[in-house]
């Protein structure tokens, strides 16, 4: 008695094994017609798939796919792998890994290609979560770096106050240190939050308050860098439902970038950063952060919102503007950039005034 007979497997055929495979298996000819499809395949795509083109069945299109492992297999008689998006009959889209291998005739020509499709959607999701986790850690490090700059500034003012026995100045320095300690507490809280999927918390707030807070946070820093920080706020802009932490982070990043750009620019003697909050039109308001630093060239302008792109060398993580873009997207806003090498840059962030209704 053979092993298979002993286990009750003697009536299994190759066809029944292939049909039972928990993945799609099909055989195709040179013209991408389906010659054979296993049971799993026919269960999800219907029984009338034989003789039809694979791209019609799997993608719902009437043209060949630009990257096709089957075509490659016919061309080089080799084994190929690719990632594909497959459109199921019920409308769901699944990410699948496609393997193709050649089937030879007796004289060694490829007569057909066997293609196997395995669902990798769940693995892809885990991969995405890991990438998000990595990104959030990088983002938080960026935040901490900004706060440390603030602490350095505060400590400098505090020290100067002690040296000159100017208690008002020391007191001022202490205030800056306190503010930054509060910030670092907030960031630590963020780290704890980010272990879960942190959603922005929306609450009603005056945009003018956020602009003023940013102005206050960077006033001393700007002074120590020799940059004039101008704040122009239209107080008529009504209170809106926004994520105050997000918007502050956005403004802080933009102002900090502008200040650093001014510090780096040696062409001009006087630098200023202009923070403006005003209406854009009847339905929108805008923040404008403008500097007269060295501006950006075309390549930089195209890349600024890409993660890890930085012109600041070891002092920048290339994440600041990516965070800005993400926050703006969360608030259904739009970013516009005007810049010219040697002249400066203007970042305009436009938000709808009736944000409340859309975010609920």
């Amino acid at each position: 008695m053979s092993m298979s007979e002993k286990n009750g497997l003697h009536d299994l055929t190759f066809k029944s094994i292939i049909d039972a495979l928990p993945c799609y298996l099909m055989i195709q000819d040179k013209d991408f017609n389906i010659l054979f499809a296993n049971h799993s395949f026919q269960k999800d795509f219907g029984s009338k798939v034989l003789g039809k083109h694979c791209y019609t069945i799997l993608k719902g299109v009437h043209h060949r796919c630009p990257d096709c492992p089957v075509r490659d297999t016919f061309e080089d008689k080799g084994f190929h792998v690719s990632e594909e998006l497959i459109y199921l009959l019920d409308g769901t889209v699944v990410e699948m890994l496609a393997f193709s291998a050649p089937l030879f005739n007796v004289i060694g020509d490829v007569v057909a290609s066997i293609k196997l499709l395995a669902n990798v959607g769940s693995i892809k999701n885990i991969h995405r979560e890991l990438v998000t986790l990595g990104q959030s850690i990088a983002l938080l490090s960026h935040d901490i770096k900004n706060i440390l700059e603030g602490l350095h500034g505060g400590m400098y003012v505090l020290e100067e106050g002690f040296n000159d026995q100017d208690y008002d100045l020391s007191w001022h320095g202490l205030e800056i240190v306190k503010r930054n300690v509060t910030e670092i507490t907030r960031v630590t809280q963020n780290i704890l939050d980010s272990a879960k999927d942190r959603k922005p918390s929306f609450q009603e707030i005056l945009p003018a308050d956020l602009a003023r807070q940013t102005g206050q946070l960077y006033a001393d820093k700007a002074q120590s860098m020799g940059v004039q920080l101008l704040l122009q706020v239209n107080p008529d802009i009504p209170a809106l439902e926004m994520d105050p932490t997000g918007i502050s982070r956005m403004l802080n990043n933009l102002v900090w970038n502008a200040l650093q750009a001014c510090q780096k620019d040696i062409q001009k003697r006087k630098h200023h950063v202009h923070v403006k909050l005003d209406f854009y039109d009847d339905y929108h308001f805008m923040f404008e952060i403008e500097d007269n630093a060295s501006g950006m060239d075309h390549i930089t302008q195209e890349n600024i919102f890409k993660e890890f792109y930085s012109t600041k060398g070891h002092t920048g993580t290339g994440l600041g503007l990516m965070v800005v873009e993400k926050i703006v997207k969360n608030h259904l806003g739009k970013i516009e950039v005007l810049t010219k090498p040697g002249r400066g840059s203007l970042f305009r962030i436009i938000f709808p005034l009736q944000l409340n209704a859309f975010l609920r």
Binding site: Y280, D281, E336, L338, K340, R343
Partner: protein, 171 residues
């Protein structure tokens, strides 16, 4: 004695930005003269100061898809109306120029003008000092100031003569 030839920069593309305002009207004459003088192509551009830059519909009774369709259609209608009226007026006036085209864009005027100038290697931008939208406070950005600051070519802004007269000090 013969004078040495002067190396004048070549102006092949001149961009004139208009929004029907008086300032733009006075700027047109200048743009026309410049295009004629340099035998350049005159690009006439109108930016519809974006009604909805964030692409959100203000009518909350509509669904998201309806909203998008509605705002798209509104934009489209407005664009076509303005295009038709403006194009007719300006094309008639530019008949004896070498080449001329009419463009309409939707968005923030300063951003769109600079983008168009860069894409079409424009050598000179001519526009009114204050547009209709700015004067009526329909849009709060300073178009002419931003264009002159950030454009990568020459920019000439022209105010309307009437305004110039009224702004002169009276004794």
């Amino acid at each position: 004695m013969e004078r040495p030839p002067v190396n004048r920069p070549a102006y092949n593309h001149i961009l004139f930005c208009t929004d029907y305002s008086e300032d733009a009207e006075s700027a047109f004459d200048h743009a026309y003269d410049q295009a004629k003088k340099h035998n350049a192509k005159l690009h006439i551009m109108n930016v519809i100061a974006s009604v909805n830059p964030c692409n959100i519909c203000m009518d909350q009774t509509l669904s998201k898809e309806e909203c998008q369709k509605e705002s798209r259609e509104k934009d489209e209608r407005r664009r076509l109306e303005e295009l038709g009226a403006l194009k007719k007026v300006y094309m008639e006036r530019c008949q004896d120029l070498k080449d001329c085209c009419f463009v309409v864009r939707v968005g923030s005027p300063d951003v769109e003008i600079i983008k168009y100038a860069d894409e079409n290697s424009v050598d000179m931008i001519i526009m009114g000092t204050a547009g209709r939208n700015e004067k009526k406070r329909l849009i709060y950005i300073k178009t002419a100031a931003n264009v002159s600051k950030y454009a990568n070519c020459q920019v000439i802004t022209i105010g309307s003569p009437e305004e110039h007269q009224t702004s002169q000090p009276t004794e």
